[in-house]
Subunit: 647 residues, 2 copies
Amino acid sequence: MRHPDTRLARPVAPGTSRRGTGLGEVRVTGGFWASRLETNASATLGHCQEWMERLGWIANFDRVAAGTTAGHVRPGWQFSDSEVYKLLEALAWEHGRTGDVTVNATFEALAARVVAAQDADGYVNTCYGHAGQAPRYSDLSAGHELYCTGHLLQAAVARIRTTAGPADPLVAAAVRAAEHVCREFGPGAREALCGHPEIEVGLAELGRALGEPRYTAQAALFVERRGHGTLAPVALLGPQYFQDDVPVRDAGVWRGHAVRALYLAAAAVDVAVDTGDDELLAAVERQWTRSVERRTHLTGGMGSRHQDEGFGDDWELPADRAYCETCAGVASVMVSWRLLLATDDVRYADLIERTLYNVVAASPRADGRAFFYANPLQQRTPGADLLPDDVNPRAEGGVRAPWFDVSCCPTNVARTLASWPAYTATVDGDTVTLAQYAPGDLDVRLDDGGTLGLRVTTRYPTSGHVRVQITSAPDRPVTLRLRVPHWAGGASVTAPRAAGAGQGDPRPARPGWAAVRRTFTPGDVVTLDLPTAPRLTWPDPRIDALRGTVAVERGPLVLCLESHDLPGGTDLADVRLDPSPAPRAHGDGATVRARIAPPPAAPEGTPPFGSGPPGPAPDDTADLTLIPYHRWAERGPAVMRVFVPTP
Amino acid sequence: MRHPDTRLARPVAPGTSRRGTGLGEVRVTGGFWASRLETNASATLGHCQEWMERLGWIANFDRVAAGTTAGHVRPGWQFSDSEVYKLLEALAWEHGRTGDVTVNATFEALAARVVAAQDADGYVNTCYGHAGQAPRYSDLSAGHELYCTGHLLQAAVARIRTTAGPADPLVAAAVRAAEHVCREFGPGAREALCGHPEIEVGLAELGRALGEPRYTAQAALFVERRGHGTLAPVALLGPQYFQDDVPVRDAGVWRGHAVRALYLAAAAVDVAVDTGDDELLAAVERQWTRSVERRTHLTGGMGSRHQDEGFGDDWELPADRAYCETCAGVASVMVSWRLLLATDDVRYADLIERTLYNVVAASPRADGRAFFYANPLQQRTPGADLLPDDVNPRAEGGVRAPWFDVSCCPTNVARTLASWPAYTATVDGDTVTLAQYAPGDLDVRLDDGGTLGLRVTTRYPTSGHVRVQITSAPDRPVTLRLRVPHWAGGASVTAPRAAGAGQGDPRPARPGWAAVRRTFTPGDVVTLDLPTAPRLTWPDPRIDALRGTVAVERGPLVLCLESHDLPGGTDLADVRLDPSPAPRAHGDGATVRARIAPPPAAPEGTPPFGSGPPGPAPDDTADLTLIPYHRWAERGPAVMRVFVPTP
């Protein structure tokens, strides 16, 4: 393989003409995301490592390396290795993004402990296959061995693209692991698959990173093997749980465990793109369409059922029991990003933005040391405060937890934030497309030579004014495209006239891509104005759980009403949102007119069903403040709702 | 102990003055319940036994008896013994109710196989404690050993009261088992408890049946031990799951796994009544009140969460994901019946009726050979037809299943229907109170001598006219009370005037107990007229999941709209119920005026949230028929809803 160009390091690199920006092409310098990337670097990465040291999840590798697994009760679930791999991936991106040598040293030390645990034939797993453990691949439905390997491969991909390539010990270990998987599960070998998709994206991307088509072929094999009901059931869950009910290319909608469904969909796009399988790509697009139309929450969150961490039926979108696992948000971004690269359809970028602001950014606490696992849109009882050293046994509750018994989300947030700049823009020929907005500098290599330098200045998402100054450009026409989100009716773009003729007049820009093609001169400015006044958002009447309610959004932010902002003594259950006066901007949230209903009077012990229809709108009004959903529960335990009943 | 009077055989027999009718005092001769009791006898009992033979759950006892457990993979969950015991209990009541000698022979043959598996010290369980099995009581949180024993004790209670008393082999085995439990878990022994309450009701009732206060004391010990967080967690579920979070006497509401919460509450009433513990009784009444006010579905169903089969938060009453386990319905009847006997409060009888008609009767298919486990109030996608020999791996879905992987419900329905007449009426001194209405003959022994004979004639619940003819009465004043349900505003009672003076005029009867005290003469007639015109029922506005909807009830029956009754091509999601014309009676259901809304138009791939408020009421109207909820899905897979949106 060629030595990688670390400027272009990015998680997803299909061999198509459209590509995402590399970490070295984008520098986020301020605003919403810069602070989160900084907190991720300064707090979350270390936090994750400390917890996994404390719980022995990293020492599990040392024990395998030392051959002392026998007679030892291994801490952690069978998939805890994957958290170590996701942390390694996050560290690799972070090192690639900043060049921080301390981060690199941390990576190398941790990677060495993983590599030491690898068996001679390439198998690496701390839960199976060693003295006192169940045999390798003895529980493919629930054992998560290939899932873990997939995350190891993704960590190696990050390392290859940000540093030295295959000479790196972790990369070499990943190659041995991938070869082992191909031997064990390749054509003519064991015709089996893992209960939790993930090996597929790992193999596909490692194949891209190393130019090794056998890995892509193995990923394709795993994708095609799923959907034929061959996985043994797990507990009382049917084959739909792990998408083993219908083959990917035949399915019409996402169903079952959301993270599994989405990791699988991401892999299907990878395979479709790499093999030119348009039917498979169309299948994932069809599933995305139907799932976004009927099975996706306002926040972009996916998954409505706690029972199987899964999608529910069409229109089953309960605010209170919305699961919206943080990892499903990460996985949804993975799918939509791949589809955006494959199709250039703006709707994928829109969903990425919605999900990043309202699921991924909602998970970590401001200090980066506690997380939401589930992200419901309504909380009826305030969560109990967790102590700093409490592991949350449950994946739910109204308080962010430092760590979980199943702790997939913190490291998933960490790797996503560490690679965030790679999702900022796409490049195709001489066209650069800004998909997300954050203050910063881009220096993008155009595919046909030269670079386009951009300085983005904005207070997005609170303000919708985005100023893009050209800092360098080739001496020929190039195209700059700016995303006009679907919610931004009334947007406008201002671009320079022909060279030297000054700034043009604002022209309306419909949702979609607003393109400006010019021979740009450094100093030229393109501005985008997106209306970010708070707006009312009404649910489709087929969503039973949200009937009679309205939400407030502002730009890409979903807002919520939290009990901290209620007048003393008011129960959130008694608040009605009066939609007749338009909500007004207030800080980064909004102020609305509310009406406070007295709770219905009923004799004691009476069921909550009566002969009278709902009463008239209450007279008692109050102005209430809504805050961005991603910031809820930052002021201590609270009750909260995104959708508020109307009078 | 005294030889029992089998005429008075009944499941719950506290030593208080108020008692329930014995199976020998009531003969149900027709109508809604008679057909169900008959189907239970002719189909369900045999069906349950066939399935448990086929799956090897009964053979598990043979294997223990033969000492051949080693090296054998035991079929069934760890609690499958309890299904055999519940079937035995059902057979015992059925024999008591009808005197059918074939049923008795079936009981004796099955009981013999259970008794043969008992260890010398009284322990009996086919999953623990024998060669190749985990040790006894090695997993109290999830092992269900004491739970199983509790059901064995309840079967023995049924046997004692319907036949010969302690000389019966199963009764003798139960006594040995109870003594074993008292030795192992009594004062000074192991201070532990079972994750699933049930041993408590079993011990308390066996104590009553045998006059053995040590069993009651042991039940009280178990009740008091719960709520102190001593049970090891099961999977990711916290102590609330098995009510180990708060002591029973301190709790304000039911929470966690619904069946566990309700079996425990039933036991707490037993203990409170037998020990004169008014504080404990008040605690359960308080929990009932709060739970019925805020955590109970319109059908009487309890449990809103699939994840832990549990109660949710206050106001968390989703129609689509309502769990409303059939067993929780049975357990709710158990609790309310005990509270009714303890307090004479009519609201307990009201909830029993609601639950019997809309949960317990909804579970079995008309032929008694398939069952609902969960009883949601909305089904969005038609269930797939199950083959007659399919075990349903899941406790949900829109089609009744012949059997379940966890098959607690069929035998629970069976034992409840077999003892149904015992819940018909209460007796206290010279007062006889009809709590439920069914055509039949009662011959009730008055506590202070003599009997009151009643012939009930009615087409209840379709008609609200109930005629009670006195067939025998002592020559002194006695009181006959009739229940006027809470929904029956405008009811009236007609009673005979003084002897020989003919029938009196109808007088209004408010919800509660309508009492008639007379020196009755055979031939006297008391009539009750309950309005059973279909009525609209509106949910409390704090129930988010039901906002903007209305339901239709008729007498004690909750009605539902099923897709079979929609015009061709109409999607149930597009139906609105126009509440302005009153619903009209139609068969045993109702006809309503509906408006059919066209589905909202939205661009493909758009999230189901928009900038426009709900549109005006659709013009397209149709008359639609609603059927009793208990009969839904009898015409093949269907979509269904109880609460229908209003225009």
